[in-house]
């Protein structure tokens, strides 16, 4: 991992244009999320969420990570502790361009693998009644993804297709990095996606899909990272450390994500 970290251009874009997603030109000079830039770049879900800015737990250097927690005190009700980049609303279908996203989560050494599955990153749609097109979650000792999409003009959760599979192992005391390239679409035989994990190279995605619809028609999509559960945690509390969401425009490269995320880069 490089000592300087630089994912996306969020701050500068906010200053010059209202539609941030259309202005992202590439991955540049990102130094992590901290108290000085958080409010300009991110919002919490829910609002007013308690968050802690921390150092990289594996190296002790590089500030720019956020610690988020949930407790099981609310009797199994849905709850979240998320950070979400402001003003990111990526279109689907004819207006969609290829888009890159990077998510990183650190599981503490005392992570309880026997707890219930819990989501640590999502790409949600503007229709909150529908499942998130991308939901990354920890289930026991596995890091899994659920991909949801619906080609119908009036989609419902009940008619939405969902595909769930394992991307890699979930290991306490380690960073887990997922970066993906997408062309969003809610139309049949349209849409593309590639997903890589833990710094693997561009030629070895854990998942790839072409001509496969991967979202909904007439929605916009927003990434967010942190903890989300639809019910009980199955353990007294959950804590993770996350990086900011890394975004890239069509000219971004897989190697750029690989270089700028806190996971070891494989040598093979």
């Amino acid at each position: 991992m490089r000592s300087s970290r630089f994912p996306l251009l969020l701050g500068a874009l906010l200053c010059s244009h209202g539609l941030l997603h259309a202005q992202v030109i590439n991955i540049i000079n990102y130094s992590g999320v901290d108290a000085s830039n958080f409010d300009a770049l991110y919002q919490t879900v829910p609002e007013g969420l308690t968050k802690t800015f921390v150092r990289n737990p594996t190296t002790g250097i590089n500030k720019g990570f956020v610690q988020l927690s949930l407790s099981d005190q609310n009797q199994g009700q849905p709850q979240s502790a998320l950070i979400q980049p402001k003003n990111v609303a990526d279109p689907t279908g004819a207006n969609a361009k290829s888009r890159w996203y990077g998510f990183s989560v650190y599981l503490p050494t005392d992570w309880d693998k026997n707890g219930k599955p819990i989501t640590f990153a999502e790409i949600v749609s503007s229709n909150s009644n529908l499942p998130a097109p991308v939901s990354l979650f920890i289930d026991g000792e596995d890091l899994k993804v659920t991909l949801s999409a619906n080609h119908l003009a009036a989609p419902t959760a009940a008619t939405t297709q969902q595909r769930t599979f394992t991307l890699t192992r979930a290991v306490p005391g380690k960073w887990h990095c997922v970066y993906m390239w997408t062309v969003w679409s809610g139309n049949l035989r349209e849409g593309s996606m590639r997903i890589w994990v833990n710094g693997e190279g561009k030629d070895t995605p854990a998942y790839e899909a072409f001509r496969t619809h991967n979202a909904y028609q007439n929605v916009t999509l927003t990434p967010r990272v942190g903890l989300t559960t639809k019910g009980a945690l199955g353990t007294p509390a959950r804590t993770v450390i996350v990086d900011g969401v890394i975004l890239g425009n069509p000219s971004a490269k897989a190697s750029e994500f690989q270089d700028h995320m806190p996971c070891p880069i494989p040598t093979t």
Binding site: N150, H151, L152, T159, T160, Q161, Q162, R163, T164, F165, T166, L167, L188, R189, T204, P205, A206, Y207, E208, A209, F210, R211, T212, H213
Partner: protein, 415 residues
Amino acid sequence: MTLPRILLSAAFVAAASAAHAQVNIWTSGPITVFGSSPSGPLPNSTAVATFHQGYQPNGDRNPRYLDNLYLTDVRYTSTLEWGFFPGSMQAGHAIFKSTAIVPSASSYTPTPTSTRSEVVARWSYTHNGKRRWYAISVFIPDSWPFVQHDVVVGQLHTQQPGTITVSPPVAVVLHDKYLNLTLQTSELSNDPNVASHIEKNTSSTQTIRLGRIDDKSARDKWYCFVMQADWSNTPGLGGFKMWMNGVLKYDAINAMNSYQSDGGNYAKTGAYLTSLQDLTPGTPYTMYNDYIYLADANTTSENDLYNLTPCGRTGSVAVVQSGLTFNRFTSQYTGTVSLTNRSGYPMTKPLQFMLPGLPAGVTLANKTGDLGGAPYVTLPNATLEPGASATVTTTFDNPGKAAIGYTPVLYTGSY
């Protein structure tokens, strides 16, 4: 006196209660004769009934001919064999050896672009709108020659008109050091006269990584795939689940997974090698394949099929070993082993009880022979019916008074 002890595999007993009533053993599973039925393949319309009626519960031998259960597809110089090979120990019977050999381009016109050595489950064709269960198992040897092209080792393919060429709805693929699942589907017509009909380059394509095989511990190993397909080429309808080695690896709902097809989808396994132009002629790509198992829509558990595969077969035979007694006159240890068929289908003659892994200095005094360095005893039973038991006596020479342990294996059929 310290009695030697037998190591009893707990899994054998724990899994013994699984039910297998929905597995279509008359349309899939083991063969006992690697050849054609003297009376020819059974006709489509009467195959299952005829096969069933032809089975004689009390017969000395009930042949299950290759061509009554499987079609073979062996191209160019590739070969398909059947017998005792690496992986047979876990399978408990003879298996297929599939070798895709790169043909010489100059020997054929047109130049081959792919070759294959596969067996097709003859009665697996299933239409859209139906649920079907499948089990396909592949043994990847340590000597596997990694190749930067797709080697398809198992497929749920689609029957199409001759002018239509599409990739299979489901394929298990070796690609370099990765084991992948690829999925293809389209809602378009399969009528080639329709302007927008199904084609490879317009179909939805997904590739999901299932695992890696570059580590030595990942080879010389069976990979067993149990699949439940709710076939559909209608958007928003259909489902597919795959378990690999007993673990759910992929789960899709409300997701079409097939093509329009007149004949339906069918299962096959073996070695299908592509992109031959980049490979050296004569190079063999060898793997081993177990029988294909099929099950009805009303199957309720993936374990019904998993327990028949080499990965889960410990559940198909319940083994109960007695203690051993020492005979001071012969200086031998003697005990019995009870074997109960929990598979839901008859296990056919010859039945061989194998004892691999005996400690040094311990030999089986009453062995029938040796196979792969391990002794075995041939059971007198012609056939072990579902639920039936057989008892084997084991007598050991053990001059060093070592603790006697081994991994019990019941082989069925010839090898």
